[in-house]
Amino acid sequence: MTDPGLGPGFAVTLAEARDAAVVGGKGASLGELTRAGVAVPPGFVVTVDAFAAAMAAVDPSGALRAEVEALPADDLDAIAAVTARVRALVADGPMPDSVASAVTYSYVNLGTGDRAQKLLILVNTDVAVRSSATVEDSADASFAGLQDTYLGVSGAPEVLEHVRRCWASLYNDESVAYRRRLRLPEAGVSMAVVVQTMVAPRAAGVMFTRSPVTGDRSVVAIEATWGLGSALVSGDVTPDAFIISKVTGEITTRRVSPKIKIHRYLSNGRGVTVSDTPTPLRDAASLTDDEIRALAAIGRQVEAHYGAAQDIEWAVLDGGAADSAATADRVVLLQSRPETVWSAREQAPAGAPRPRPADHVLALFGKPL
């Protein structure tokens, strides 16, 4: 195995993240959004090459991975014993300096803080560290344990540690048992890791550029809650729901729900807290009309960029400025994926032309109602 050596290949900025085989699906998607001019929290991707280099350091001969590959799929005790060893090595074993310095370098270049201070760990940028699977199929990804997310990681050593935890997650019991059942070669196992600046949003949620309920392509559907979107994803709150017409810009549905809990991100390593939503906020709409419109506009922009309906995670940052130009600046996207449910469904055409326009009426009234 060749040593990829030092260089930018181990970590790339989001703007440079292109090839999903190198930066994973999430990394490539964030890269494309960045290049499309959509605001995403600044970040970088630790590439599959970094993973390969790290694995080469802890398993230079490949014997360890051969041992994993030889495990019987149904011997869970054996899997548990072997994978515990591999995980310990991946998380804590020797690490090539080239990988560590590439990650550290990218980390200290994040954000706007003073680089020298960050190098001295005087000021740290809080980041989220997420695994970025190189497999497209999300079902595979969930089985393979590639959904790790660590919020509020702070300081280069911590970042490095969590990148390695993501890698190690490839060797958790379920992932390995899954690969063994499918007899997938261990040599093909790979992972990128996305490191992104933490946001502490005022509100966050999801957005579909067609109705998830009816498949209507003329609307954008938004679900929102106070604080982090994790409250919504985890099912801790019933989100507010808004539907906005792409054509008229009218907000046609506005369902404000009592949002019992709020997930908040607290900086300086204090992490994510879950608390009761303050009473004045509970029953208040978590988005203003301007924010709804700004979100919908960005949703349409992303949809147009991909040429397909999107399923988007977003956050609205604290701002204060009321004008809508400033509102748009406060919106960041955390993720965008193609909508799959309705796009996969064959839909009957709403109608076809007839010889004469009036034939439509004749046909309607000729049918039993």
Partner: protein, 599 residues
């Protein structure tokens, strides 16, 4: 499938104190035992109040015309006519569907060419239609109510006319009724087909864009230059003219029409010019009804100048500040085109786009008729009709049969006919008519009963709920859908549900106006709650923040005017004027079609 929920017609108890309500209505409007098997809904859109005896003609005549049109004239394949019944003063209706496939096919063979002929020649037929309507209006205006002189004019003898005035009492009254019936036949002549074009486009849009609101579809269809805007435009023009002529000081908040008109007489040529312009505007544009022509008390601006003169001070104030601008027709047209092309672009196939173009084109073809017919029929003709009936009422009052001209509306037209026969006999015999002691107690009792019946809350529907209520015409006309029925069955006590007619959400203080005569009590920034809004109310929209009405659909005048003013509107609520009180703080949600009473 039968569901518990709505009472059967036979289970409706008489309202205490008005047990004798049946005496006001003809036998053919009574619920029959077999009617329990069918689903009926309260036509609150057209008949939000208990029916005075004469006003039942606005059910009797339209339903014989509509049914004739769909069942016999055009032979609509799937529907015959509409039946109506009256209980406790309220009108319930049901449609007679055609269900047998063989029969539908047999009817479709007739329907195709007949309907096709009208669609293919729509514009020229509509031109001819307008001429026919104008002729009917001229004719009803020309009908004279005989004066019953002491003796006939000499020419009747020397011209060997040979027919005395009392003959014309009944002949002319019958002509008034006959013209009303003819008007309704013309009213439905093109209307059901026009609605058919709407229904087709609405269904297509709903299939392609399941979340699209009726009002958005309406915005793609809506005509910009329709005559329903004319009365309001005329009023704005008069306001500008008042400022130009320097007579604007007369138009102050709370001014009384008669006083202003008298004052203008003494303002020299400026006053004269303004009165001249008013005269021109009044015919025909002030023939706009304050309601929608289903009750005798829906007066026109010409009948009662209160509405225009309540609106004028606001317009005059705006005109002084240069705030009256012509309707931004170009912008409205551009907006309509932008919305239509926006949806068109979202369609996935060329076939769908072609179908969209055809259906939208057809809607725009029929739109001028569908919108404008109301002005000719419900407004212009109908207000003339009721005034003519009232003139016969005045004759009966002069003949000491009833107390006042308006009392005639508490008699069914067959009873009016009787009274006229009585007057005719008495005049001929040289004796007093016998009707006074006969009709006066009847009228007094009916007035009393109507007051009692006003407080009755009619169930929104009666009888078994049909399994699926998807008749597109019923949906289009009355907004009755399966969802609506479900809401009727599970009402929220603080929420009034209607049709979402114009988007937006506002909170404010409600002003409930049951009648146009109360219009001057309206304050700036209030939320208007009325039984019905019509074009004549348009000036009021400049003062209010939202509109709520008991009757109307997403294509009703109120809906269209509210959208133009960009204010929320919820129409067709059924009983908003009953459940909301003046002074209530309410939230009008024009997106969802609800009005919530907050305090």
């Amino acid at each position: 499938m039968e569901q518990a929920g709505f009472p059967l017609p036979s289970q409706i108890a008489d309202v205490p104190g008005a047990e004798n309500w049946r005496s006001m209505y003809r036998y053919f409007t009574r619920f029959q035992p077999d009617d329990d098997k069918r689903f009926w809904f309260y036509n609150s859109m057209h008949f939000p109040e208990p029916m005075p005896a004469f006003d039942t003609i606005t059910g009797e005549v339209p339903y014989q015309a509509i049914g004739a049109n769909t069942a016999r004239l055009f032979v609509f394949p799937t529907t015959l006519g509409i039946e109506h019944r009256i209980v406790n003063g309220r009108v319930y209706i049901t449609a007679n569907p055609v269900l047998d496939p063989a029969e539908i096919e047999r009817r479709a063979a007739e329907f195709g060419p007949r309907a096709g002929y009208y669609f293919e020649n729509w514009d020229s037929l509509y031109e001819g239609w307008k001429d026919r309507l104008r002729a009917l209006i001229a004719e009803i205006e020309s009908i004279e109510v005989p004066s019953l002189p002491e003796w006939e004019a000499a020419e009747v003898v020397f011209g060997s006319v040979g027919v005395a005035q009392n003959h014309y009492l009944q002949e002319n009254f019958h002509r008034v009724l006959a013209l009303y019936s003819k008007m309704w036949h013309h009213h439905t002549e093109m209307l059901m087909l026009g609605y058919g074009a709407y229904v087709v486009f609405f269904q297509f849009c709903q299939q392609a864009f399941p979340e699209i609101s009726d009002q958005t579809v309406g915005r793609m269809v809506a005509g910009i230059d329709v005559i329903m805007y004319r009365p309001d435009d005329e009023l704005r023009g008069l306001a500008v003219l008042a400022v130009e002529l320097g007579v604007d000081d007369l138009f102050t908040e709370g001014c009384v029409a008669a006083d202003v008109l008298a004052a203008l007489e003494s303002r020299g040529s400026a006053g004269e010019q303004w009165l001249d312009a008013l005269g021109k505007a009044r015919d025909p544009w002030f023939h706009v009804s304050s309601g929608d022509g289903f009750y005798h008390h829906h007066l026109s601006w010409n009948d009662d100048l209160t509405v225009p003169f309540t609106a004028l001070p606001g317009y005059v104030a705006a005109a002084r500040g240069g705030g009256i601008r012509p309707r931004p027709t170009d912008r409205l047209i551009a907006e309509r085109e932008r919305i239509a092309s926006g949806y068109r672009e979202l369609l996935s196939t060329d076939d769908e786009k072609a179908a969209f173009d055809q259906m939208l084109g057809l809607c725009r073809l029929v739109f001028p008729f569908v919108e404008d017919h109301k002005f000719y029929c419900e407004h212009w003709f109908t207000t003339r009709f009721f005034q003519k009936v009232k003139a016969f009422g005045a004759l009966l009052a002069r003949s000491d049969v009833i107390d006042s001209a308006d009392d005639v509306f508490h008699l069914h037209h067959t009873e009016v006919d009787e009274a006229l026969a009585d007057v005719s006999l008495a005049w001929a015999a040289g004796s007093p008519p016998l009707g006074g002691p006969h009709f006066r107690p009847i009228i007094a009792e009916r007035k009393r009963m109507l007051k009692v019946l006003e407080d009755w809350s009619p169930p929104p529907a009666l009888g078994p709920v049909p399994e699926a209520l998807n008749d597109p015409a019923v949906r289009m006309l009355w907004g009755i859908t399966s969802e609506r029925i479900a809401a009727w069955l599970n009402p929220d006590p603080d929420e009034v549900v209607g049709v979402a007619a114009s988007a937006g959400v506002v909170e404010g203080i409600a002003r409930v106006l049951r009648d146009v005569s109360e219009i001057s009590s309206l304050r700036e920034g209030e939320i208007l709650v009325v039984p019905v809004t019509a074009p004549s109310w348009a000036p009021v929209f400049a003062k209010i923040r939202a509109a709520v009405s008991d009757i109307g659909g997403s294509m009703s005048h109120a809906a269209i005017v509210a959208r133009e003013y960009g204010m929320p509107a919820v129409v067709g609520c059924g009983d908003a004027t009953k459940r909301i009180r003046t002074g209530d703080r309410v939230r009008v949600d024009g997106d969802r079609g609800t009005v919530r009473v907050l305090e």
